[in-house]
Amino acid sequence: MTVLAIEDLHVWFELPDGKELHAVQGIDLSLERGERLGLVGESGCGKTTAILAMMGLLPPTASAAGRILLDGEDILAGGDNTMRAHRWTDIAMVFQGAMNAFDPVKTIGSQIREPMQAAGLAKGKAARARTGELLELVGIAAERQDRYPHEFSGGMRQRAAIAMALACEPKVLLADEPTTALDVMVQAQILELLIRLTDELGLAMIMVTHDLPLVSQVCQRAAVMYAGRISEIGTTSELYHHPQHPYTRMLFRATPDLLAERDVISIPGSPPRLDQEIIGCPFRPRCDAAIDTCAIAYPPTRTAEPGHLSACFVEESA
């Protein structure tokens, strides 16, 4: 059952000099109940912007177009008014660096209760009890809800941030780099927790990250973003074993692999600026397989296997 479907989502930012930056240039995604989808790509590829758009948390300088379907209902259609009704109650988010986002002068518990009370789901004793349950769910003793953020370790704060995202029993969880800045052991705990939560609660999750091995470990499917578009999407094992897009292939080769005996490469150059129109494939200047056609138009979407789509003119034979 599809919980969340994104259709042709665009986001533009107004720049101070009057120009416009087309940060997200039409992405399509769909998410099943209990599914974990990884969103990977270099910095500045529009990953965070895309999920902020799904939360309706774009800044006033942004404008958006497209459809965001939550259980078939277009929640983007009415702008902030329709997004607000679903924010946190249906779609919740663990922000980048969420563990540092707690208010230092309020207890962890009171900060987790806030969205519940705002949404009118629980108050008083019931809210306290529910906060305790949520903390237990992420592996923190319920009594700790009266502690202050500085009394928690980084990993505990991150788990508390996840508990906060779960406060209103959302259907979709957006996690923006939930494990960066944590050490490997804590990282493993958090990932295990996220996997367990999606399995047990049927929560659908989109995880934004730079870390490819992490995606293949956690997610069933992954989407590779480049220059505001999805260049390839498919199951993680398909992407790893049969990458169709040169960018995907090069990204994997840029990651050290314990088992494969090969050199780690770097992809030269950096992603293009998005404040001017790009003609042809945006990856062409950096691609090792580019052909003449690449300079003419954006590549059409090609289906390699059912559910495995890529946007490249060149047939990859990996």
Partner: protein
């Protein structure tokens, strides 16, 4: 490896940052009130500098009857000594602006220095300096003015010192709190770790960070200083040998211009003072807003992102 030799993407040229003049112009364009204030200021500064060359009559030249009414020869009439009001106003601009700027600069230098030392070193130094500041803060302005003027005598220099003495406390407190913030930044710690001296850290890392704030506050303080100068002169504590707008109001007042019905002897300098103070405030607040965008709390405002129709599906080019 051939990949490394692949051309860098040409789409990544570095955006040139705008020149200073250009950013000043775009600042004025975005803040119309600052532009208006700036134009008014430029006008008065021009008058203050070049006024004596085009003032129609002399500063002490009797050209007509006492409290002569405004006429085509004397658009603003004559004062109690038969001196042309327009000429007096032009000469007064120079004194008023000099006192305003000088007083604000004294306040900025003294207050800024004390604020920086107090905020940067903290501890006992901070305590001693801040208690001194508190002491000056509770002194009643008017009484201090009267006492200083009567002990040291009535001169332009003393007025500037009084203004500095009254206003440095505001500056010191403001700067101190900002320095305390900057001092805790990682790059200051890094400079300390690398063995930079306090002097180097203050001049290289702290002052550049607080300079915009210092500047904006100084502009606002000029307005206060001009107001205070007018007040001091009006109370008859100004320098008797020079013409300032405050002194013009005072003379007109004490020579009973009001009972003569000679409104032209009081209104023009009053309007001039009000205009200049307003102009400084307009420029100062706009500068403060743009230097400290948090004052606008835009992230808490009720504005949201906009929706727009989907772009046309481009046909493959």
């Amino acid at each position: 490896m051939s990949l490394i030799d692949a051309p860098m993407t040409p789409l990544n040229e570095v955006r040139k940052s705008p020149s200073r003049l250009r950013s000043l112009l775009s600042f004025l364009r975005k803040h119309p009130q600052a532009a208006i204030g700036f134009v008014i200021l430029m006008f008065f500064v021009f008058v203050a500098i070049f006024g004596p060359y085009f003032a129609p009559y002399g500063e002490r030249e009797q050209v007509g009857p006492i409290f002569g009414t405004p006429s085509s020869a004397h658009p603003l009439g004559l004062d109690d000594g038969g001196i042309d009001m327009l000429s007096l106003l032009i000469y007064g601009a120079r004194v008023t602006l000099i006192v305003g700027f000088a007083g604000a600069v004294v306040a900025m230098v003294v207050g800024g220095a004390i604020g920086i030392i107090s905020g940067y070193f903290g501890g006992k130094t901070d305590n001693a300096l801040m208690r001194t500041t508190d002491y000056f803060l509770v002194l009643p302005d008017l009484v201090l003015m009267i006492v200083v003027a009567s002990i040291w005598g009535r001169s332009l220099r003393n007025i500037i010192i009084i203004i500095g003495l009254i206003y440095w406390t505001f500056m010191a407190r403001l700067i101190r709190s900002q320095v305390k913030v900057v001092r805790e930044r990682a790059y200051v710690k890094r400079a300390q770790a690398l063995g930079a001296t306090h002097t180097r850290i203050i001049f290289k890392h702290v002052i550049p960070q607080i300079a915009p704030l210092l500047l904006a506050q100084t502009v606002l303080m000029v307005a206060l200083a001009i107001f205070l100068e007018t007040a001091i002169s009006f109370l008859g504590l100004g320098d008797p040998s020079v013409t300032s707008w405050g002194k013009m109001i005072e003379t007109a007042f004490s020579r009973s211009a009001i009972s003569y019905g000679a409104w032209w002897a009081i209104a023009p300098p009053g309007i001039a003072v009000a205009l200049v103070i307003m102009a400084f405030n307009m420029v100062g607040t706009a500068a403060e807003d743009s230097l400290n965008p948090r004052l606008k709390v835009s992230h808490l405002s009720r504005r949201h992102f906009r929706l727009r129709p989907l772009p046309d599906k481009e046909a493959p080019k």
